[in-house]
Symmetry: C2
Subunit: 233 residues, 2 copies
Amino acid sequence: MSTPGRGLHGHVLDTLGPEITAGEYPPGSVLRTDELAQRFDVSRSVMREAVRVLESMHLVQSRRRVGVTVRPTAEWNVYDPQVIRWRLAGKDRPRQLRSLTLLRSAIEPVAAGLAARHATAEQCAELTECALGMVANSRGHKLEEYLVHDMAFHRAILDASGNEMFARLGDVVAEVLAGRTHHDVMFEDPDPAAVTLHVQVAEAVRAGDAVRAEELTREITVGALQELDILAP
Amino acid sequence: MSTPGRGLHGHVLDTLGPEITAGEYPPGSVLRTDELAQRFDVSRSVMREAVRVLESMHLVQSRRRVGVTVRPTAEWNVYDPQVIRWRLAGKDRPRQLRSLTLLRSAIEPVAAGLAARHATAEQCAELTECALGMVANSRGHKLEEYLVHDMAFHRAILDASGNEMFARLGDVVAEVLAGRTHHDVMFEDPDPAAVTLHVQVAEAVRAGDAVRAEELTREITVGALQELDILAP
DNA sequence: GCAGCCAAAAAGTCAGACTTATTTGTCACG
DNA sequence: CGTGACAAATAAGTCTGACTTTTTGGCTGC
């Protein structure tokens, strides 16, 4: 997606990564570099590069005379966007969405509070623009257009927080929102109450009301959690 | 630290990673693999593996005919524990600690609330044990022993939350706490009020009082933030 | 001034030989 | 029997050199 064809080793990762994150090789499984190279029909150098990347994600560990062993799930770098994408594409996608939505519910309200304190005029404008875009597409089966503005809105909040760690979750949130629209059951039109809340958050941020921005955003994320509980209990 | 001597490419990363994250090569800078291989006195294959790892962290991008270009900071995988460690070792360490402490202040209260709902008896026991260890080492210049229990406490909370994403922040929090004790000015003994709060959190979790656990933990993280504002304004 | 082509540059790929660490098994000795 | 040391097997690690591919930038000619 972000970097589609970045060489042979990338192609190897595109299939091996999802396989590992999907649990096809249980923790402790041992892979041999030579066998993998044969399987993907690449040279060992290319295979080694792929293994190094998996190793840097803590998905596997390469040890002499043993091979490439799959690490337990608890040790994976689950914040790596690539790992997140692989896991969201896999079969325990609902579990992932719950974890990530819970993360959102912790981060986004705080980020909104910070945004109310630090947002520039441009960022406030961007925010209201996104909110208006959501309103404009909230009726009439325009889920795709709505999604675009929804993603942009949350990304704008996280950016405006002024905190680098929060800002870097923009991709994750976008992934979650996109997943909700595309793969899970969603009503034909978004919840009108949610749309209103987004507009109010934009207003609160512009007004510099941190407490209100935080509280309203909390309502949004709680709504997202409830939605998940209803649709995938 | 976690995997010290994992081969030649690891040694290369140990010096090249910190250099890049420290901003010694400004975004857009171009490195050549051959030159790097010469500089570190390793073969090109080894150098390529190192570059692949840096690429997977989004620190650099390798493009044909142009070379290995350093990416802008905003694109780095700042949640990668390795990247966090490199940056904390660098010169903008104070800025890092502020970002990470803000992240803590968003995550940990929510995690504590979840822990109060989901913690097992064993986890509650572990928690109170850690809190008692903190109390026992809160006086008499035993900062190192105190730190061990403090790290274990917060890790226990995050684990007990039952959320994978929260749990994986245990290393980050430990790193922040260790950094505060080792590098920044810290009083000879920890703040007694903070120690008490930890004990109370353990109690609240055991009692299953989610609201109280969350509120108390929020007080702890607010304290940590204020401490940073005082010591590095 | 522009279109298209050519040449250089740097990453990408491959194959093969060699090195090194680690495990496992064996055998002799207590 | 157990135990320790030694030897063999194994798979990752490393290096080298030749070759390919893509991209860029300049040059030519219209």
